[in-house]
Structures are given as structure tokens and as C-alpha cells.
Subunit: 596 residues, 2 copies
């Protein structure tokens, strides 16, 4: 079976209208004026099994972040800048007002939620998001309800998943669960820790699973006391015997549906650290019922983000294989793109990745030709599928899961000859990409402090992009992970061993989009001649040429050109030996220095 | 009388030792183990009359920010990176442990304040600073005391000031007090506002005073209800009759020593907005005793920072005059610096400024030759005064008060021929300066978001500077003002009309310092060809050449060179007509394009 399906997502508008109507009929019986439908499930995860896609069911919107508010006479679908166009296209305008900024969502709520009783399911929301809502409108009353009323009207709901769990071998994981637990405990200033994020629990136990598409996390939670065995909330039926045995003395297994009630017993008399951005309101309530809640960042999340040498080696190896697949694809694009469709390209790329050893893609490939490229998180389906015409810019954002690593890369190509205006824009985006890639920075600097480097050339031209510059990436795990990122909101210090994306873009609605994305590893920088203090820097992990035919060299500074030429020399040296002659020749041409 | 005196500051070490000993003898009688001595006075101001320089009296340290903790057996002097060298030089090491980072100060307090009773005077501290202290050490007990015990041991304390107040004329102020009050009330979401910052009250009433050196603020506070007359706490004896008359119907005068007791009566039954970073703990206690305290930013501070057209015109005019003085000084430096001293230079510059119409300097001139240039806030005195040798780098950070505006400029020169290593460093600092100067940015962007632009070239070379990149500057008022700035901590959005400094630097301890500072005005940027969204940009107000003999052109990008050449063309065009022939010729040479 292919990793990616191209069926049109979700439901027809009239189906959505019927579902919203059914939900509205249920409101009076629940004593509420409206109900909140989040994208998140009980694991507060961006990555959902089909059975938890309540927001898509009720609104048609299939993006990875957002929420709906359904009132008797009005409805809101709130998402962010990445999804502005997609949300407006998918959610029926007859029902939903669509917003794509926090300010616009707040304005809607201030207007329409004043004095209303709004139902929310405390198992589906973090306390942080409940808190943010509480002040949304004058005299708004938040009413805890459960189970979520969508579940009662969802007739053909997909079955809950129970993907088999496999071991992530020690040579790839680098450290044992016992070692990781020791590290976490050393950083823990409380009697116990609640780890709410499934990918963190999956990392901790060196598991890999199949509960959600494209991300090998195992839906689970962990209560970890400072001493003695922990309690892991996970479906025991998913675990093979040797993984159950591996928990011996480390953690007891509790069924998922005993959460959060069993948490109440575990928290008794203890100070429990939980991250209010990750834990559900229901979980925090359970801790507060018997113990003392201490809110703060989950120290395990930071430890997961700082990759160990084995994980870094795995990520480097995965990027070599993924680079070969990407080069084959880019050479194929050069020769054959005109007349093919977006789906043809996505399938071709998936094929090259399978041949390179990929066990999955890491997310649905974004393959946007012409105007579809301007939809930041565009997901091609059979109804939106465009045929590539000569001269079309095409943006492809894709990645793969390998046993040893996760990749995420965006390249923007032109099928034929680019226009000069396009080259100007492409060069500006590239300047931002390079400014991040080659920047050194001191200890303590966060992504918020350097985000502007990716934007300065765009801002000077009167452009900007409505998304962050980078997100954390897991090692053979989630393609989006915390706690660090590169955006104005990412205030977590960057530390050696973290892996992030570097992906500035420029979007021209109705015309095309440009994005250039590589993954970068934070490492200690060599101290340059005359340097006075130690610095960190980024090592670019992704290996694939950036099309120099789209670049106007005179718009780059000498250090930009130096970075690009050096990068292409690295790409060529790393990949040429693994390619057949025609593709090797193509690569050699595409990796020539920009000038001279 | 000269604006600046060059007497060595403060006391001899043995005097300091006697003062600390006297303070220590007073501790048991007050029932405390130690006492906090802040730099701030009862106005929480950076700008102090001599009678309020408690920190300098007790520690010898004369910088503009810091605090001491005096225990029976240990003492801390905590300041910041700007003052690291100065504090260590001025405070006797036999008594004081000196720290220059928040982390180091915290570490000291955690170690030495555990279980101690620490006295503090609530009239001298903001609640924010008291709150920050409360968690400094386990079982620390903060004990409110007053008056401050330093006052009892200060035998030859200078008399309290009562500088005469003059009117800031309408053509320079641009708006009347009544207009400003209407603006503040429109932004006020409370029954009343406490304005704690003297410079804001001074701005609001269009006063200018002489209470503190070099800053024409009038020590004062204002209680402003949403309707009806306010109450201004100010020494009525300082106000001429026409200014008292001008308060008619706007505000009643209350004597300063009725604060905060009278505030208690005014706050009764009202919700009062006060800025916990600006108001004293004693003031907030008074509000809470009878009314409801609402904490938040003072809206008047933001309105003061957004200069109106008359203020902007005044600042531009002041910079023309200051530019003439600076050009005359820089030409003088070129011809005569070798063999002169730092004080000679400061006096010469003050003389040129007086001839240009300055009514004061805006702060004590920092004139640092060679290693003294590496002391970020160096203040030359007769004991530290260095003679300029051929080849010495000299850093001069200075400014003036004119009737219509305030200036603040730093230039770094070399007396003779610069070395190549120096030119490399100078060019890096210049790149940071230009990156800020020419950056466009969207609405909503703060100084924190762009601070890195000034540092990127330095970071890439393994350098950094331990101070912010820019501070707000008042219009014929305080040379440092809030709420906006350019630093990683400045999260206030930049708005058109704000004036800030742009002053990256690079400091080589024991060798020299480099800093390049201009003032910039935030304004709406012209939309460039192809621009998609409106942007803000900076207009550089300061007019004086940046020495291109210190620049290595090949280390600048083409846009950097374009900015520098355009800037020099502006400087030449603006100033040449106001100079005599020899200085005009010098300017013409120094303003030639860098290349070609």
C-alpha cells in the first residue's frame, strides 16, 4: 500500500451542514449554548488517529491545528496563517466564519461568546488553552462536559487504533530507558513527573509504534516518581512480550482508560510536575484532587530534543539515503515534470524513497504547482490535483521515516525557465535560509532571538511569511517536536544536539509559493581566529541541491555564495558515489559553484 | 561652569570601609541581618540628585544601575555587564563581592541570604524588584524598614534639590497638557492612573527642570483620575506662577512628602492602574490599602515615546546643530589628538556644543582612550585620565541637551593610522549598526525581534557585547526612556514616532573598545516596488561622519556600502553650509563615497 493516499479529505459541504445541525440539536440537552471542538485528542497531540479527527468530522478542515466553536446560530473555525487558504476552502462558508490569526479569533469570540455557556471536554484540552479561553469574552461561562458530544453523532466513526509496538534497537537509540530515566530524575525538582506527550514516552522506552499515520509514536502517558517504578498508561495488547519484560522494575502498565482516575491515586501526597501546555485539564484536575500540582516544562522533552551521538549518527545516515532519493527525484523533475500532475510527482518521490529504504513518509507530501504552492500546508488530492505546465514553479515539502532517522525537506523548482521576477523572490528566500544556516550564536540564545535572520531580506522588500522559520524534529520519531523552534514565540534556548528545520518562504496568493527547507543540527562551533567566546552553530543535515538556476548571484553577499558553494560541494561529495551515471552527471552539474 | 566635572567620583576605599562598618553597627538595632541599598531613589529613577546617591556613598560605585546587599560579614555589589569593570575598580574588594550578571547575583544571594532577615526601604523599591528578591534564597525574610539606614550615617549629605522649573514652549512640545491628558484617558482602562516616572509627568505638563544633572526632568508624580482634576506631587516652590496657573482645572498640587499617604485617600474606592516596574512598593501598598490596584504598563509612557511632529522637528533641528559640533570636534581630533588627554577631548567637545547652542550635556561624556574604551560606561576623571598616543583607538560617547532636542552619539576614532586587525573589528561593528539602520519591519515587531541584526557579524566572529543595542530617547528630556528599546528583553512593539539609539559595540578588555551610535526615528517605510505589505523603517537622525578610514570595504555587502555612502551624502548636504572652510573641506573628504 502506498504511504500517501490522495482521496479528497473529509466530507462534502452538505454532509458538514448535517453534522453541524445534529451537534446544534444536542446543545440544549447539555445545558450549553455552544461547544468547542478542538483538533487535539486526549493526548493533546498534533498527530491523530482517524477515530479522533473530530474537528475534520464537524468542519471539513483537515489541517493539523485549529478548533471550532459551534453556537446555535454562528460558528467559528480558527486556525493559523499556514492554513488560512485551506481552512477557507474546506469549511463551508455557509456555516463557518474562518479566522487565521489569534487576534481575529479573539475578536470573534469577544463578539459572539459574551454571556454564553460554552461546553468543552476537559480530557481534550490543555489547561493553558482553557485558561486562554476563559477571558475570551465578557461573562463567558466554560462548562466541562464529556464525552465530547461529537462522539454521539459520529455514526461511522473509525475504530480506535492499536498499532503494534516494536523495539527501537539500542544501537539507534543510544541510551537505555533506565539511563534516560536517571537523566530525567536528575533534572526533576518534584516528587514525580507526569509525561503527557506520547512521543516523549515512546522515546523514553525506545519504542516505535503505528498508532497514527507517518509518526511512529505509541499513544501513551507516563507517571514517573522520583524513586521506584513508574506507571505507563498504554494498551498492553500492543506490546510484544520482550517489551513488556523490558519494563520490569522500571514501570507498571496501566490501561489507557484508567487515566486520569488512577493518576489521582498516584498523585496522592506528592508534588507532581506537569506541563500545562501538554497535559489535559482533566489530568491536572486529577493531580490537584489528591496531590500538589507543580506546573512547568517537562524536563524529558528537553532531553529528548538533545540528540545523543547514536541518534545523530542515525539522522546523518538517514539524510544520506534521503538525499539520494531527492537527487533522483529532482533529476526526474528536470526531465519529465511538464505534463505530469502534483500526485504523479508525490508518487514518484515516494517510490524513490522506498527504494532508498524509507519505511514511511514522515507526513503527507505537499506538492503544490503554481497557485497551490502558495497554500502553506497544501495537501494534494484528486480534486485539487494540478498538471504542471512549462514555466510553473512547483513547491515540494516532504520527508520520510527511516529506521534510523526522520527527514523533512522542501525544494522549490521551476518546470523550465524561471522568470527574473521569480528569481528575485527565490534569491531573497535563499538569503534568509543561508543567514540562519551560517549564523553562530552564544549559549542561551533561543529561536526567537534569531528568527529575523530568515526574514530580513524579505522584510526589506515588503514581504513576510505567516509561519515560523523552524520546528524541532525527532530522531526516527515525530517530524514536529518541542520544546525548541525558530520563531518569535520560541524562547527555549538552543542547545548542542537539537535538530530543527530551517524553512523560510514567500507566498504569492494565486500565483506560486517558494520555500527552501533543510534540517540543521545545533553543535558547538569551532572558535574562529580572534574569537573571544565559545559559540554554537548549525550543521545542515539535509543533502540535496538548491537549484542555482533560480538564483540571481548579484543579490547574494560573498558569504552567502561561499555557504552555497560549500554546501553543494558537500552534497556532491556525499551522494555522487551512490548514484547511477545519468543522475550522477545531473548532480555534478547542479552542484557546480555559483560563480566561477 | 562646565557641564561636566572630572573630579574622581566618590570616596577613598578606607572611607567606604568606615561607612560599611557604621551601617553594619546599625543592623542589630533594626532587627535585621543585612540591608539592601539600591541605586534608585524614591522616584525609582536612573537619574538621581546627589542627595540620593546612597549606593555610591556606601560602595563607591558610581554607575547608573546596581544595588548592594550589606550583611554583617559579607557584602554584594550587583550590577550589569556595562559596569563589570567599573564596579570592580570602584568598590573595595576587601568588602564587596562584585557580580555583573543576574545569574551571578542570584547565586550569591542563594548562598548568603538563606534564612536571613534582609531590610529594605519600600519607598525606594519597585514591587517588581521586591518580588524578584523574595525568591532569592530559601527562607529569606524581607523586612520593610524606613527611612533607609544609610541616611542616619550620612553626615555630609548634599541638600535635597529644588531646581527651578521652566515652561517647554508649545511650538516645541506640540501638544498641550490637556490634549495629552485626553489621550492618556482614552487609553486608560481603570478609574485612575498613577504616573510614577518623573520624566513622564514632566513631559505631560510641558515642564523642564533642573533637579538632576543633565536631564531636565522635574521630580514629581501624578495621580490622574479618569475624570476631574489630577493631583501632582511636586515641590510647588519650584514652579513659577504661570506654570502654577497652567495647572488650573487640570491638577492640584500636593507636596512631595504627602506621598504616598495622600495617595491612600485618592485611591479610595477606585481601581488604580500603576506600573509595578515604576511605582514604589510603598505606593502600591497605599493604593491597596483603600482601593483596587491594577498593574500594567503606564499608557502615558508609550504616548511620551511616540513623538509628535513638533517634537520630531525639534529633534531634527537639534541634530543639525549637534552634527556641526561633532564635525568640528572630529576634525579637531584628526589634527590634534595625539598628546591630549581624555579630559581635554571631553572639554573641547563640550565647548563646540556650547557654541552650537547646547544648554547642557545629556550625560557625562564617555571618552575612553585605548583600554579605557573597553569600559562600556567609562567616566573619565583626573585619576583615570589617559593621554592619547599615536595609533590609539578612542571611543567617545556623548550627547547634549538643546531647547528643542536631546542627542546621544558615539564615534570611535584612531589617533593616526589604524591597524588591519582593528579595521576588521570596526567593520564588523559597523555591519551591525547598518543592519539595524536599514532594516524594514512589519507592525508589531519589537526591539527583541531585531536585536540580533546588530550582533550577527560579531557572533560569526566569536564576539558579542554585554549591553543592549538601543534605548529610547526623550525629546529634550531623558536620554534614556522607556518603554521600547532594542535588546533581547525589549518586547514593546516599535511604533512610528519612537526614537531609539542604535549602538552595537565590541570590547577588547585591556586594549580598546569600539562603539558606533546614532539615534534613529521609527517611521512608516515607503512600500518598495513589488512590496506586499506596509512596513516600518528607521530614519537616522544623527548627522556625523563614520570614519571610513577604519573600514575594510570588502567585508561589507553592497547594501551596506550603499547605506554608508547615502548616509555620508546626507551628512555632507545637511552640515556643509554651517561650517567654515577648513572644517567644510575636512567634512567633504570624510563624506566621500567608500568605493569609487
Amino acid at each position: 500500500m502506498a504511504f500517501q493516499s490522495f482521496d479528497p479529505p473529509g466530507a462534502q459541504p452538505d454532509e458538514i451542514l448535517r453534522r453541524v445541525a445534529a451537534l446544534r440539536r444536542a446543545l440544549p440537552g447539555l445545558g450549553i449554548d455552544g461547544v468547542l471542538v478542538p483538533h487535539e485528542d486526549a493526548y493533546q497531540s498534533e498527530y491523530l488517529p482517524a477515530s479522533e479527527e473530530r474537528l475534520a468530522f464537524v468542519s471539513g478542515f483537515t489541517g493539523s491545528a485549529g478548533r471550532a466553536v459551534i453556537l446555535a446560530d454562528k460558528a467559528l473555525l480558527a486556525t493559523d496563517g499556514r492554513y488560512a487558504l485551506q481552512a477557507a476552502a474546506q469549511a463551508p462558508g455557509a456555516v463557518f466564519d474562518v479566522t487565521s490569526t489569534p487576534e481575529a479569533a479573539k475578536e470573534w469570540m469577544r463578539t459572539h461568546l459574551a454571556g454564553r455557556r460554552l461546553g468543552y471536554d476537559p480530557t481534550l484540552h490543555s489547561r493553558a488553552s482553557v485558561k486562554a479561553l476563559a477571558d475570551a469574552a465578557p461573562n463567558l461561562v466554560l462548562v466541562p462536559i464529556g464525552p465530547h458530544p461529537v462522539d454521539a453523532i459520529w455514526n461511522e466513526r473509525p475504530a480506535a487504533v492499536a498499532g503494534a509496538v516494536r523495539a527501537h534497537p539500542p544501537e539507534l537509540a543510544g541510551r537505555s530507558p533506565a539511563d534516560k530515566i536517571a537523566d530525567i530524575r536528575a533534572a526533576l525538582e518534584a516528587d514525580a513527573l507526569l509525561i503527557s506527550a506520547s512521543d516523549t514516552v515512546t522515546w523514553l522506552f525506545n519504542w516505535r509504534g503505528a498508532d497514527v499515520a507517518h509518526t511512529p509514536l505509541v499513544l501513551s502517558r507516563l507517571f514517573l516518581p522520583k524513586e521506584g517504578p513508574g506507571t505507563v498508561f498504554v494498551d498492553a495488547g500492543k506490546l510484544p512480550a520482550e517489551l513488556v519484560a523490558g519494563l520490569d522494575g522500571i514501570a507498571e502498565i496501566a490501561p489507557p482508560d484508567s487515566f486520569p482516575s488512577r493518576l489521582r491515586a498516584l498523585a496522592k501526597g506528592r508534588t507532581v510536575l506537569a506541563d500545562p501546555a501538554a497535559a489535559s485539564e482533566a489530568a491536572l484536575n486529577a493531580i490537584e484532587a489528591t496531590g500538589t500540582l507543580k506546573t512547568g516544562k517537562d524536563p524529558a522533552e528537553r532531553l529528548k530534543a538533545i540528540k545523543n551521538p547514536a541518534e545523530i549518527a542515525g539522522m546523518r545516515a538517514a539524510h544520506l539515503r534521503d538525499g539520494v532519493a531527492m537527487v533522483r527525484f529532482l533529476a526526474f523533475f528536470d526531465a519529465h515534470a511538464v505534463g505530469l500532475t502534483e500526485i504523479d510527482l508525490a508518487e514518484q518521490l515516494e517510490g524513490f524513497r522506498r527504494e532508498a529504504g524509507a519505511i514511511d513518509i514522515s507526513f503527507d507530501t505537499i506538492a503544490g504547482a503554481g497557485p497551490n504552492g502558495a497554500i502553506v500546508h497544501y495537501r494534494v488530492d484528486r480534486t485539487s490535483n494540478r498538471t504542471i505546465a512549462a514555466g510553473d514553479p512547483v513547491l515540494i515539502d516532504s520527508g520520510a521515516q527511516y529506521r534510523d532517522g526522520t527527514t523533512d525537506i522542501t525544494r522549490t523548482m521551476v518546470a523550465g525557465t524561471p522568470g527574473d521576477a521569480f528569481r528575485v523572490q527565490f534569491t531573497r528566500v535563499l538569503r534568509g535560509h543561508i543567514a540562519i544556516a551560517r549564523q553562530r550564536f552564544p549559549q542561551g540564545i533561543s529561536g526567537a532571538d534569531i528568527d529575523v535572520l530568515a526574514r530580513m531580506a524579505l522584510w526589506n522588500a515588503g514581504h513576510d511569511y505567516a509561519h515560523g522559520t523552524g520546528h524541532g524534529v525527532g530522531a526516527a520519531l515525530a517530524v514536529h517536536e518541542g520544546p525548541a523552534g525558530i520563531s518569535r514565540r520560541s524562547r527555549v534556548p538552543l542547545e548542542a544536539g537539537m535538530i530543527l528545520s530551517n524553512e523560510p518562504g514567500d507566498y504569492h496568493e494565486g500565483e506560486y509559493g517558494i520555500r527552501i527547507e533543510n534540517l540543521v543540527l545545533v553543535r558547538e562551533a569551532a572558535v574562529p581566529l580572534g574569537g573571544l567566546k565559545p559559540m554554537l552553530s548549525f550543521e545542515t543535515l539535509t543533502l540535496a541541491p538548491i537549484d542555482t538556476r533560480l538564483v540571481l548571484p548579484h543579490l547574494l553577499g560573498p558569504e552567502d555564495i561561499g555557504w552555497l558553494d560549500t554546501y553543494h560541494a558537500r552534497v556532491h561529495g556525499a551522494l555522487a558515489g551512490d548514484l547511477d551515471k545519468p543522475e550522477r552527471d545531473w548532480l555534478e552539474t547542479r552542484c557546480r559553484p555559483l560563480v566561477g
